[in-house]
């Protein structure tokens, strides 16, 4: 009896103190990332804020008069790249997700596909760059073009889109599918009219977040040879094309085949130049990129909030 009392020493004060120390450390860890981000943003804003203007968005870069340089080719290049990546990656990504969630039965092949998708999502982006260089640039297309860049980026974000879409479809309750089957709907009708609409907000969020990963990528594009001084954007000089189907066709073909640059690459290029003005230009371009990124993320957050309010199950 007395031995038991001796063994138990509450030491409450000490234990509570240790608890508070742990809490404090966790708070510091939380603050550290926020503070570092804040410092970074302030540093960038301080360095590049003065150069931001409307003409910064509409002018090409300049080696000789960097004071008047802008990001037009990089900005348009980024928009082109994102639009094309969407066109390639969304149908394939969502299609794959629908098949894997709604149609497939468990089999060796499906297990293998699942394993591959999960692994691909973790592959470093430079590997996609090497793949793009070998397959699209050297083998299929024979040019270091916008199209090669967009196809590479599509591969890069495909696993992310598939995983996000699958999770969103999985969150749609089974009862909705069963109710549709009960009134005689086919599997296609069930997917088309019930499952996809219900899962759409989640899918859209996943797509936007995947795109905002792609928009900041530099490494795979450098691998493709996009680290270039370019004073024009894909699809400029539309005046030499007629406003007919064939004219638009050749305009699009030329745009897809043209060399390009993007915002992260323009930033990388400027950040490597000796003169201080180029580093301020890089900071200004970082602000442009951050604004695009944050507004994309805001749209994703908005969709999620809308979904929470309008959930039908």
């Amino acid at each position: 009896m007395s031995a038991g009392v001796d063994l138990f020493r509450p030491r409450l004060a000490r234990r509570r103190f240790v608890g508070r120390v742990f809490q404090g450390l966790c708070l510091l860890a939380g603050l550290a990332s926020a503070v570092i981000l804040l410092v970074l943003l302030l540093h960038v804003a301080w360095g590049g804020g003065g150069l931001l203007s409307q003409s910064f968005l509409t002018r090409p870069p300049s080696q000789l008069q960097p004071e008047t340089a802008g990001v037009r080719p990089a900005l348009l290049g980024t928009l082109w790249l994102m639009a094309l990546t969407l066109v390639f990656a969304v149908p394939v990504g969502v299609g794959a997700a629908v098949y894997l969630e709604e149609y497939s039965r468990r089999s060796r092949l499906i297990d293998l596909i699942n394993l591959n998708i999960a692994n691909l999502a973790g592959v470093p982006s430079i590997v996609y760059g090497i793949l793009g260089l070998a397959v699209f640039v050297r083998w299929l297309l024979g040019s270091r073009s916008l199209l090669a860049g967009a196809l590479t980026m599509s591969l890069l974000i495909l696993p992310v889109i598939i995983i996000a879409s699958r999770e969103s479809l999985r969150a749609v309750p089974k009862s909705i599918r069963e109710a549709a089957y009960a009134v005689g709907a086919t599997r296609w009708q069930t997917v088309r009219h019930h499952v996809l609409p219900a899962g759409l907000p989640g899918i859209l969020t996943g797509i936007i977040l995947a795109l905002s990963r792609a928009i900041g990528e530099t490494a795979p594009l450098i691998m493709l040879g996009a680290l270039t001084f370019v004073r024009f954007a894909p699809g400029e000089w539309g005046d030499q094309y007629s406003f007919t189907a064939t004219g638009l066709g050749s305009w699009l073909r030329d745009a897809l085949n043209s060399p390009f640059t993007t915002l992260p690459i323009q930033i990388y290029n400027w950040a490597g130049q000796p003169d201080d003005i180029f580093r301020r230009l890089a900071a200004a371009a970082i602000i442009v990129l951050l604004v695009i990124l944050l507004s994309m993320n805001a749209v994703a957050v908005g969709i999620r909030a809308w979904q929470q309010r309008h959930k039908t199950w």
């Binding site: 080696q63 000789l64 050297r138």
Partner: protein, 339 residues
């Protein structure tokens, strides 16, 4: 009176015709793409040339990539002709393996020196004891397996101060050039230094370390003059020379001043936009190279004239075949008189 006015009209028509002819000769409206890639050292010159060119020929798309001289030569000598770049920016002459590959692929090229660059050897601004180094000392410091980690081991009389080394990364033409002329063998270098392809990282490194020693392109030193101390280099003759535009141009700052080159794919020269760009580049070379935002050292007028002739004649091949070629000035190599 009437006669005079018709005369005047005739003159006006003649002038307009003349203007049209001159205009037509000066700037035929070119379009198409010119692909340039290669050295990050040559990049500012070619980018500036592309920018000036775009003012007179806005429809020609000149792209200037930065892959390093070695990386650029890979794109200049791609297997598929449609992937090859038209012009290669090089901060060193073409190497034997690259020559072999060009011969194997049947790529004929024209070698055009375009400017001089110097390698600046720099130390921390607070360094009071070291004003110059000899090439032998540089070799002792940088050679493979070198164990020198303190300034006192470099020369008697230097204080005891840990030595921190900064230099360009192995993809850089500056690295190739420095190792070739200092060690006598390209890419021969100790491994324990801080490398970066980004010269700004090197500037920052040397700036932040009292015992630092680093080297990079002279133009980077010019842009960061206030933050670093520049060393004179003694080529073994007991006369240290500091790099400046004069000593670099005369190659008195030996052996760390070097010529920069364009290599032009001869087949690409058949495209009028490529020829137009190169003609513009060479005829404005001095202006471009000495532009304050570019700030390299221009060749002599005589050499530029010679280079333009070389392009016009389509002379292919390199003059850098011999083992001691890099010790000779451009004037000697191309047999051009001094004045």
């Amino acid at each position: 009176m009437k006669h005079a006015s018709s005369n005047r009209r005739f003159v006006v028509v003649l002038m307009a015709l003349g203007a049209a002819v001159v205009y037509g000769q000066k700037s035929p409206r070119l379009s198409g793409a010119v692909k340039v890639d290669g050295s990050s050292t040559v990049y500012p010159i070619t980018a500036a040339a592309a920018e000036m060119f775009s003012e007179s020929q806005p429809k020609v798309q000149v792209t200037v990539g930065i892959s390093g001289t070695g990386g650029g030569f890979k794109k200049f000598l791609e297997e598929k002709p449609e992937l090859r770049t038209d012009i290669q920016d090089a901060s060193r002459p073409i190497t034997a393996p690259e020559l072999e590959r060009a011969a194997k692929l049947g790529v004929e090229f024209i070698e055009l020196p375009i400017a001089y660059d110097g390698i600046a050897v720099v130390v921390h601004s607070s360094n009071k004891f070291c004003d110059h180094l000899t090439i032998a000392e540089l070799k002792k410091i940088w050679e493979p397996g070198s164990k020198i980690g303190n300034w006192k081991d470099i020369r008697d009389g230097f204080p005891s101060l840990p030595l921190k080394l900064y230099g360009p990364g192995t993809d850089s033409g500056t690295f190739d050039y420095f190792t070739e002329v200092v060690m006598g063998k390209s890419k021969a270098c100790r491994a324990d230094f801080t490398p970066s392809e980004d010269d700004n990282v090197l500037v920052k490194g040397v700036e932040g370390d009292a015992g630092s020693l680093g080297y990079f392109g002279f133009s980077y030193y010019e842009a960061n003059r206030a933050k670093l101390k520049l060393l004179a280099i003694d080529n073994g003759d007991g006369q240290p020379v500091k790099p400046d535009s004069d000593s670099i141009g005369k190659l008195a700052y030996r052996p760390l001043a070097r010529p920069l080159f364009l290599y032009v794919n001869k087949a690409a020269l058949a495209k009028p936009e490529v020829k137009g760009f190169l003609d513009f580049y060479l005829s404005n070379a001095k202006k471009i190279v000495e532009h304050p935002k570019v700030a390299y050292v221009a060749l002599s007028a005589k050499l530029y004239e010679f280079v333009a002739q070389r392009l016009a004649a389509g002379t292919t091949g390199t003059v850098y075949g011999g083992p001691d070629a890099h010790t000779k000035s451009l004037n000697e190599l191309y047999s051009v008189g001094d004045k």
